[in-house]
Symmetry: C2
Subunit: 247 residues, 2 copies
C-alpha cells in the first residue's frame, strides 16, 4: 500500500454544492481522508461544517473541515479550476462527455500531471446537481450501481470516487500472511509426514499393503497443499506426541 | 449497466458480527441494495434491526432488513457456508491467505459458479472482528485505504466490498451523451463554418490575406473538435444572424 502524508495537496478538489447536513459534511471529510484527499470546498452549506455534529461525524478528519473553503456560488468555487467532473446519479438531457469513475480518475490524474487544477463536484443530498451546475462542468460521471436502487448517501458517493482515486495504481494480489513463523520447507514437511506415517503404521492405519500407497498419498496431500508454517509443524508434532502417549 | 431483479439470491451472504447501531444496520442494507446484494445475516445485533431507526437509515432497503436472519454465534451463522472472507482493517498475527477486494471478489464469483455458498463477514463498529472470528474464515480481505486514516464506517466497508461485487464486469468508457439532437455531420459543420467565414469576411476579420489561412484553421479547429450536435449548430446559426443584424 502506498504511503502518503496525512494531508497532501495533490489530488482533485472536492466541491460540495449546497450540502445540507453537518453530519454528511463530516462524513465526507472522513471519506476524503480515507482516500488521501484533503481539499474541500463548500458552496452555500446549509448547516455548520465546523460544529460538533460535523466534527464528530468526521471521526478524526476535522482538519479537512477546518481547511474547507466556503463560496457563495459554484462559479466562484470553480474560478481557478481547469477541469470539472460533475457526479450524477442519472443521465441528463445535456450534451456532455459521460463516463464512469475509472475513466474520470484517469482523466483527473492525467490533467493533474499537466499541472491543471481539477474539481469533482457533488450535489445536495435530496436533489443532486441542477442543470445550471452541470453546465459549468466538462464531463458527467456516473457511479455504476444497481439501477433499481442507485441512490447513494453524499459521503458514500465521495467515498467511491475517492476510493477510485486512492486505488488507481493498486494491483491486487493474494499473499499468505504469516502469524508466528515462516512457511515450512518441503524437507521439514516431509520429515513431519514421515513421523506421522510411523505413528500411523504402529496404529495399524496402513494395514493393507495394496492400499498403503494411495492412502499415504491422499493423507500427505492434505498437508502438502496447506502451506504450513514451521510453528504449525511444531504444533502438529505435539499433537502426534499426545496421541501416541494416549495409546 | 447490467440489470438485475430488485432482490435476487445470487451473490455472497453478508454477515455482520455483533453490530451495535441500528442506523448502521440500516445503512448496510442500503449499501447492499445499491450493489445488488440481498442476503443479510446478523450475529447478536445489539440494537433493533427492524425498528424505525434502522428502517429510516436503510432508505428504501427495508426488505433486506426484514429478510435478515439472526444467529447467536458466528459459527451458527456460517454453518451452511463453504467459503468465508473476513474483512479486516489491519494485518493480523494469523496465518491466512490475505488479499484485497478485487481478488476476494474473483474468488467469490468463482466459488459461486461452482454452487458453493460464500459469506463475507464484517466485525463490530468499534473493534472489528476478533481473532476467534477470523479463525473461522478461509481468507482475510483488506480494503486498500490511506494507512494514516483507514478506519471505515461499517456500512462503508460493506459498500466498497459490494461495489467491487457489482462492478466486477464493469468496463468503463467515455461516451458523448446527447441532449437534444445528434452529432452534427462534418458536412453540416463545414456548411456552418462557411457561413461563419462569410460573416467574418464582411466584418473585416480576414483582412490580411497572408494570415487568412492560418486564422481560418485556428478558428475552425475550435469547432471541429467540439463534437457539436445539429441542434447546437442551429443555435450558432441564430447567434450569427443576430450579430449580422446588429451590424
Amino acid at each position: 500500500m502506498k504511503k502518503i502524508p496525512l494531508v497532501h495537496q495533490g489530488g482533485p478538489v472536492v466541491v460540495l454544492v449546497r450540502p445540507q447536513l453537518a453530519e454528511n459534511m463530516g462524513m465526507v471529510a472522513r471519506a476524503m481522508m480515507n482516500c488521501g484527499l484533503s481539499q474541500l470546498r463548500l458552496v452555500n452549506p446549509r448547516e455548520d461544517w465546523k460544529g460538533k455534529k460535523a466534527i464528530s461525524a468526521s471521526s478524526g478528519a476535522a482538519t479537512v473541515l477546518e481547511n474547507a473553503v466556503i463560496f457563495n456560488s459554484l462559479e466562484e468555487a470553480l474560478a481557478d479550476i481547469q477541469m470539472v467532473f460533475a457526479t450524477t446519479a442519472r443521465e441528463r438531457d445535456m450534451t456532455k462527455p459521460f463516463m464512469g469513475p475509472i475513466v474520470a480518475t484517469q482523466k483527473t490524474e492525467s490533467a493533474l500531471k499537466h499541472k491543471e487544477k481539477v474539481a469533482w463536484i457533488f450535489g445536495p443530498e435530496r436533489t443532486g446537481l441542477e442543470n445550471s451546475d452541470l453546465a459549468l462542468s466538462d464531463a458527467l460521471v456516473q457511479i455504476p450501481l444497481n439501477p433499481a436502487h442507485s441512490s447513494l448517501n453524499l459521503s458514500q458517493a465521495v467515498l467511491i470516487m475517492g476510493y477510485h482515486w486512492w486505488t488507481r495504481d493498486f494491483k491486487d494480489k493474494e499473499t499468505l500472511v504469516m502469524g508466528a513463523g515462516r512457511p515450512a520447507t518441503k524437507k521439514e514437511l516431509s520429515v513431519f509426514l514421515g513421523r506421522l506415517d510411523e505413528s500411523l503404521m504402529q496404529a495399524g492405519y496402513y494395514a493393507m499393503p495394496e492400499k498403503q500407497e494411495r492412502m499415504r498419498r491422499n493423507l500427505h496431500n492434505i498437508f502438502e497443499r496447506n502451506r504450513l508454517t514451521n510453528a504449525e509443524l511444531k504444533t502438529l508434532y505435539n499433537v502426534l506426541a499426545a496421541l501416541d502417549k494416549k495409546k
